[in-house]
């Protein structure tokens, strides 16, 4: 399905990013596993991918650092010959009530979660324009659509990602570069494990399917958007949230 394609997955060492990296690899793509700090986990993902019979390497880069990202893209093209799929997944949280949120907490989250998407998108666009093909899939969040108390920074960044997705989709459509966002809801990962029981129960009561999503539920949608089956979809935000926000 993705045989011979090359994918970069930012924040690919853990959680949803790890599942996405593995899912793309299962379908034949070579994968670059970008990570910020979890080197051992990134290495484990690379080894798991290599067992699937495709190529992979890990690359440490801060997604908001243009020089590091450019280097990652260059090494990707030098190693695998193309960049066909970019999954902008890297993200952090610094939750706090608006009244308590420090400016630094706001800036950090915007920097990684929003500016990082801009930097990585810009870095692969040159190659994808030359190829006259490419898929960019941005991992937003359902809270970027609905809002969420305690996450002003994260929600602002994710809503920004949805807007960035639409603009990028319009700018690059004539070059056959398709750009979509996904908006996961409550998915079982390290990030949601940090929530309190009260927060979890509150969210579960809002989910029609009445259960958490699994990282694989998200990864399969990304695989679809990266494939030829999604040739006529661009600029969209696909909710993967058990029906939480309709």
């Amino acid at each position: 399905m993705l045989t011979g394609k090359t994918a970069i997955v930012t924040g690919g060492s853990r959680g949803i990013g790890r599942s996405i990296a593995l899912e793309l690899a299962k379908n034949g793509a070579n994968v670059v596993v970008n990570y910020a700090g979890s080197e051992e986990k990134a290495q484990a993902v690379v080894e798991e991918i290599e067992q699937l019979g495709v190529k992979a390497f890990k690359f440490q880069a801060d997604v908001a650092d243009e020089a590091q990202v450019k280097e990652m893209v260059k090494l990707t093209v030098d190693s695998f010959g193309s960049v066909d799929i970019l999954v902008n997944n890297a993200g952090i949280t610094r939750d706090n009530l608006l009244m308590r949120m420090k400016e630094s907490e706001f800036d950090q989250v915007i920097n990684t979660n929003l500016k990082g998407v801009f930097i990585c998108t810009k870095a692969v666009t040159r190659q994808m324009m030359k190829q006259r093909s490419g898929r960019i899939i941005n991992v937003a969040s359902i809270v970027g659509v609905s809002g969420n108390p305690g996450q002003a920074n994260y929600v602002a960044a994710k809503a920004g990602v949805i807007g960035l997705t639409k603009t990028t989709a319009k700018e690059l459509a004539t070059r056959n570069i398709l750009v979509n966002a996904i908006a996961p809801g409550f998915i079982s990962t390290d990030m949601t494990d940090q929530l309190t029981d009260e927060q979890k129960n509150g969210m579960l009561s809002l989910i029609p399917l009445a259960k958490l999503g699994e990282p694989e539920d998200v990864a399969k949608v990304v695989r679809f958007l990266a494939s030829d089956d999604a040739n006529y979809i661009t600029g969209q935000t696909i909710h993967i949230d058990g029906g939480m926000v309709m």
Binding site: R126, M129, K130, E171, T174, R175
Partner: protein
């Protein structure tokens, strides 16, 4: 001089799919050669590859005509 112009012209003909006779030093990419802004960005990328150089964004924004591009490259190589 002619050499740079010819190489630039070839890229323009290929990328913008225009008649050779339209590609003069005075021709404006947007007005005469019907390039949109993304086409111009792409042309600059092609020129960077062809002439093995980097054109800074501020400089690239000043390139409006075929002559602008040719002169820029000639100055760099001069």
């Amino acid at each position: 001089m002619a050499d740079v112009f010819d190489r630039v012209k070839e890229i323009i003909i290929d990328k913008l799919d225009v008649e050779e006779s339209k590609v003069t030093m005075e021709a404006s990419f947007k007005d005469d050669l019907e390039a949109d802004s993304l086409d111009v960005v792409e042309l600059v990328m092609e020129l960077e590859d062809e002439f093995d150089m980097e054109i800074a964004d501020e400089e690239a924004e000043k390139i409006n005509t075929v002559g602008d591009a040719v002169n820029y490259i000639n100055n760099l190589q001069g």
